[in-house]
Every structure is written in C-alpha cells, then in structure tokens.
C-alpha cells in the first residue's frame, strides 16, 4: 500500500535534536543508528522550540483565514440521526394505518420507519398501493440477541420508481413469534424470506413454500444468529466415520480432548 502524499502540516519536526557534532556516522544511514541520549537541558530546549512553533502556526492560521478544504481532505462527517416523521411517505403511512409508525428516523439519506410486526402486510399494501412502492429491493433480518422489544429486526427495503425514493421498514420480532409473509404483496419476497428463515429461523406465515434455501435440508441450525459460531457446529454429517467420530463435525479447538490431536486425514 503506497503512502499518499502527506499534506498534513502537523508533523512536529522529527529531526532528532542532536547536539551539534554528535554521532556523524549515524547521519543518513538509517533508523537503526542509535540516537544520542538527550540531556535534560536539551530536552527542555526542544520542547520550548516546538511550543513556539505551534504558537506561531496558530497565529498564522488566525491571521490568514484559510480556504475551506475539499471534503476528502477534511475529516469525514459522520451522518446524524434525524427524526423523519415529517417525511411525506411516513406521514401518509401514519395516516393510512393506525399505529403503524412507531418511530421514524433518517440517517445517511435513508428513511427508516419502525413498525409493529403484526401489521406488516397491511402496511406493505398501503405503501405499495397508495404510495407507489412497487419494488421490494431487499428483505433481511438482524439478530440483536437480548433486547426487550424482541430479538430480531426484520428489515424491508422498498423503492418507488416515479421519484426514486426508498423507504425502510423495521419490525421488531420476538424469537418465538412469527411474522406474516409479504409474498402476496411482492412476489420477489419469496426467496428473500426463505433466506431469512434459513439464516435466522424466523417463520413467515403464509409463505407458499418456506424451506431452507442456502443450507441443505436437515441442517440443524440458523447460521446468521449471533449464537451460532463462525467456525460451525456439529451438523451430524457422518461422512467419514473413521476420521470423525460419530456425531462429529467441525470441532472447535477448545473442544478437543486434552493432549490428543484429532486424526488429520485418512492415513498420514
């Protein structure tokens, strides 16, 4: 990775404050030449010099107003959360469906509406029919583990063609609850919901064929849940019984029998 031009002016002069005439052979030969130790006086002198320089720079800055830096040379401006209840679509939704809008947030240019999970189909139909969001871009879920309003967030992200507006719905869902399927509203939700079921274990009521899609039938887990380990779990795949013991699968290092390494492979 090449270094970009360093345009920052705030590097303190890095030249070692060598006392005059110290270690001439060290000059220019590289970083491994040992720096001569500084005496206390020399240290104090260095600090004073640096302070003076900083003061001078500040004075210069104050004297001449500097021109605004282009945004890529300035620190990135983190977006802020803003309330989006005034957004026309949010307002229309709140008017159309009672109690639909629990919260509305605008962040980084996206409008996110928190909605109750049990009204999802009604809300989606309202947005599709009245507000023209005919295109469901994405449907996914987030696992928040312990959270009082519900473990999961089911996220719907839709698009309107006329003015290219997008809106996000977030529905909090308890682990044991299920949520209605929106395949009746947008047919594209079919596989998207299957993937959410597969990865998170969230049930979609009314889905035409809720099966696993990315993992195989009979897989015993929901991979994207936060309590599913990245290394994998015992999936009960006894393909090579002489290599993996019965009920064995990918095994975490801390689960190995102490001392005994597992068999590496068939024969050495």
């Amino acid at each position: 990775m090449s270094d970009n031009e360093k345009t920052t002016p705030d590097h303190a002069p890095a030249a070692p404050g060598q006392p005059a005439g110290a270690a001439p052979e060290a000059a220019g030969t590289g970083a491994d030449a040992p720096r001569p130790a500084l005496t206390d006086d020399e240290k104090a002198a260095k600090i004073a010099a640096a302070k003076a320089k900083a003061e001078a720079a500040k004075a210069a800055k104050a004297a001449a107003p500097e021109e605004p830096k282009p945004p890529w040379e300035a620190k990135p401006v983190t977006p802020e959360h803003q309330d989006a209840s005034a957004d026309p679509d949010v307002a229309a939704l709140a008017a159309a469906v009672d109690g639909a809008v629990l919260a509305a947030d605008s962040f980084a240019g996206d409008v996110t509406v928190t909605i109750p999970a049990d009204r999802i189909v009604e809300i989606c139909r309202a947005l599709k029919g009245d507000r023209g969001f005919t295109f469901l871009v994405d449907l996914t879920a987030i696992d928040w583990l312990d959270r009082e309003q519900g473990r999961f967030d089911v996220v719907y992200w839709m698009h309107r063609f006329d003015d290219s507006k997008r809106i996000r719905l977030v529905a909090a869902l308890r682990e044991e609850s299920s949520i209605a399927s929106v395949t009746g509203v947008w047919r594209t939700a079919n596989w998207l919901e299957r993937e959410v079921y597969d990865m998170f274990g969230i049930h979609f009521e009314g889905h035409p064929a809720l099966e696993r899609i990315l993992t195989w039938e009979g897989f015993n887990g929901h991979p994207l849940r936060k309590d599913f380990p990245v290394e994998g779990i015992d999936t009960g795949a006894a393909i090579y019984p002489d290599v993996y013991p019965p009920g064995g699968g990918p095994v975490r290092p801390d689960e190995l029998e102490s001392g005994e390494p597992k068999a590496e492979g068939k024969g050495d």
Binding site: M1, S2, N4, E5, T7, T8, P70, P71, W72, E73, A74, K75, P76, V77, T78, P79, H81, F107, A108, G109, D110, T112, T134, F135, L136, V137, D138, T140, I142, D143, V155, W157, F161, S164, R166, R168, W186, R187, T188, N190, W191, L192, E195, M199, R212, I213, L214, T215, W216, P223, L224, F228, V230
Partner: protein, 374 residues
C-alpha cells in the same frame, strides 16, 4: 414460435429430471429440478446453496477494510464492482467523500469490469446455444482487460481493488495509454461479435420469444439490471442514485422492447458500447489529485444502518450495513445479490418452454453462483 402438440395416446406422465449441479451449461453449481412433459417444461425449481460459504457471517468478524477481499469472491466474475458496492455503502455510513481522481479511477475499473463481465456472459450464452466461436474472440478481449487490472492492482480475477475512501493505488505509468488503446479498439470487437450473432437467423429463432418478461412482472419479481431493462424499464443505479461521480458522465441506458432473450442480448451489447463511451470520457477527463480521502487509520462507525448500491453488470448489487456505536466491524452486513433475485423468476420464465430453452434462459439471466450463494 413452438409447435403445440395435441394430446395423444402416446403421452407419458411427467418426468422429473435434475439438471445439474454438475452440468456444463449451468454456469456454476446450480441444480434445476425439472418436471417435464415430453420436452415441455411443466415446472422448474432451482436449488441453490452449493456454494454457500457464510460470507455474511464472516463480515461480522472482520474490520471494515478487511471485508473487502471477501466481497471479491461473491460475484467472482465482477469483483471490482463488489468492492465498489461495499465501499460505496461504507462511505455513506461513515460520511466519507472520495477525491475526484479516485472516483474516476473507480469508475474506470468498474466499467472495465462491466466489459469483462459482459464478455463472459456473451461467451457462455453463445456457447450454450451452439455458437462456439464468440467464446474465443471475447476471451481474447477479456484477457487484455485482465492484463490492465493486473498491472493496476496485481490480480486478474479477485481484485481487492477499492478501498473505503478511494482507490488503493495511483495508476501505474502507461496504464492510461494502454487503457485508451483498448477503448479505441473495442467498438470494432463488439462489431465482430454482433456480426456473428445479432442478425443470424438461427440465433434469432433461438432467442426471440424465449423467456418473455413483462415490465410489471419484472418489477414485482424484483429483477434488476439487463433483465429489467430488457423488459423496457429504463432504470440504472448509476443514473438514479449516482455514486462515484457518474453524474458527471454522459451515457445512455439501453432498454429492450419485448422482454425476451433477444432483447436482453441487445441490451447487454448496447451496454458494452456505453461502457466504452464512459471509459473514453473518464480517460479524457481524469483529474489530478490524491487517490485516497483523509480517513482515520482505524475506521469506527456509529450506530446506524445504511444501504449503498451499485449497478453491477448483473443488476443492483446492494450492501446493507448495520453498525453499533464505535464498532470497527459491521454488526450485520447483508449483501443484496442481483443474481439471487433474478434467478427467482426462472420457473416463471421457462414454464411451457422446451428444455433447450432452459439453457437459453439461464444464460440470459447471467447468474453467478458465487453471488447467489455467498
């Protein structure tokens, strides 16, 4: 187009056949379970997941910049676009603006990648339908593009060629000249491919009327990219939600009229020509300046969610990133793969067609299993 067979004494009951997962025409490990009535497809059920590697789970364990090489491997045919999508989403989340030179470099890499991807599409689609020669011509051009990538970032296929905040490297000496030469020669090559296929009667008979998608169906099924544009919906993320200074570049968005395979073919050929046009403009207007924005060494996000998308050659590739306060990794990074959503519509598109058309439709959807399964 196809002859209707009257029911007869000799009709047998439906046959269930598995097409794939190992099959030369499925462009990866895809299995399609077919219910056939003779040669006519009664139902098709795509079965995926053979290439699932848990990428989204892995994202949750890695710092933001570490995620980028993993995005390469999803749609491995267009890895620069995957990188770009992630970087666009992260820059939105962190409020980073990239310098103009970086934006132009990223646009050039993305358009070169679009050309490379469409070349692979054309090669495989043609060879599935029996035209074996375009494969060799297109891969000759693709090789030249991959050489350009190699001299820029060192890799040909999985590029890892974009960073959050800009481009990783300055362009090497002579790169602009070589790219320029490629761009100048390219329209002639596209003419070569078109000469072999576009007006060929057999090609037209194999593709016109096959896999027709109406615009309303396309929108309802969530199609994006050439499948959507082939049905007549003029919609392109580069125009609608411009990223990386696409708003400064002039280009057209080709659409099709009937939504069949031939239209999607024409749309992609026209897109290649538009990519050449975009490249020409980028090369001519390449600004000076730094290639990376000033960003902290360790990127920390605040709590929030952001969705950023790019127009990948296959459709809208989106990244939905959820972060918690002061996090260095994504809490959840969801990839919206265009091929996954496009493939969903396969049963609708092939119902009633013959088995030979299944191959044409899979080719026209231009799927990459790495992206579908992640």
């Amino acid at each position: 187009m196809t002859d209707q067979r009257p029911p007869s004494l000799f009709d047998v009951e439906e046959m269930e056949v598995s097409f794939g997962p190992q099959h030369p025409a499925t462009h990866g490990v895809l299995r399609v379970q077919l219910k056939l009535d003779g040669e006519r497809i009664v139902d098709a059920k795509p079965i995926i997941g053979y290439l699932h590697r848990g990428t989204e789970k892995l994202f949750e364990t890695m710092a933001f910049p570490q995620c980028i090489p993993h995005t390469d491997r999803m749609d491995y045919v267009t890895s620069a676009t995957n990188n770009q999508g992630f970087c666009v989403a992260m820059e939105k989340l962190l409020g980073i603006t990239i310098p103009p030179r970086a934006a132009y470099i990223r646009m050039m890499l993305a358009e070169l990648q679009r050309l490379a991807s469409h070349l692979v599409w054309l090669a495989t689609h043609a060879i599935d339908l029996g035209a074996i020669t375009p494969f060799f011509y297109t891969f000759r051009e693709r090789d030249a593009i991959l050489d350009l990538f190699e001299s820029y970032c060192g890799a040909r296929l999985t590029l890892n060629t974009m960073k959050i905040g800009g481009a990783p490297f300055e362009l090497p000496d002579g790169w602009v000249e070589r790219c320029s030469a490629l761009v100048d020669a390219f329209p002639g090559h596209i003419d070569e491919y078109e000469e072999l296929l576009t007006n060929n009667r057999i090609w037209k008979r194999r593709t016109i009327g096959v896999g027709v998608v109406s615009p309303e169906d396309a929108i309802d099924w969530g199609l994006t990219g050439p499948p959507l544009r082939g049905s007549g919906v003029r919609w392109d993320i580069r125009r609608v939600f411009p990223y990386d200074r696409y708003d400064e570049i002039e280009f057209e968005i080709p659409i099709g009229a009937n939504g069949d395979t031939y239209d999607r073919y024409l749309v992609r050929i026209a897109e290649m020509r538009q990519s050449v046009r975009i490249l020409r403009q980028c090369l001519d207007r390449l600004p000076e300046g730094p290639v990376m924005a000033k960003i902290p060494k360790v990127l920390r996000a605040r709590d929030g969610m952001a969705y950023g998308s790019v127009e990948a050659p296959k459709g809208e590739l989106g990244y939905f990133i959820v972060t918690t306060d002061k996090a260095t990794e994504p809490y959840r990074c969801r990839v919206r793969p265009p091929s996954f959503v496009n493939l969903q519509m396969l049963p609708e598109m092939v119902r009633g067609h013959l088995v030979a058309d299944l191959v044409a439709v899979i080719g026209t959807l231009d799927i990459v299993l790495g992206e579908i399964d992640r």
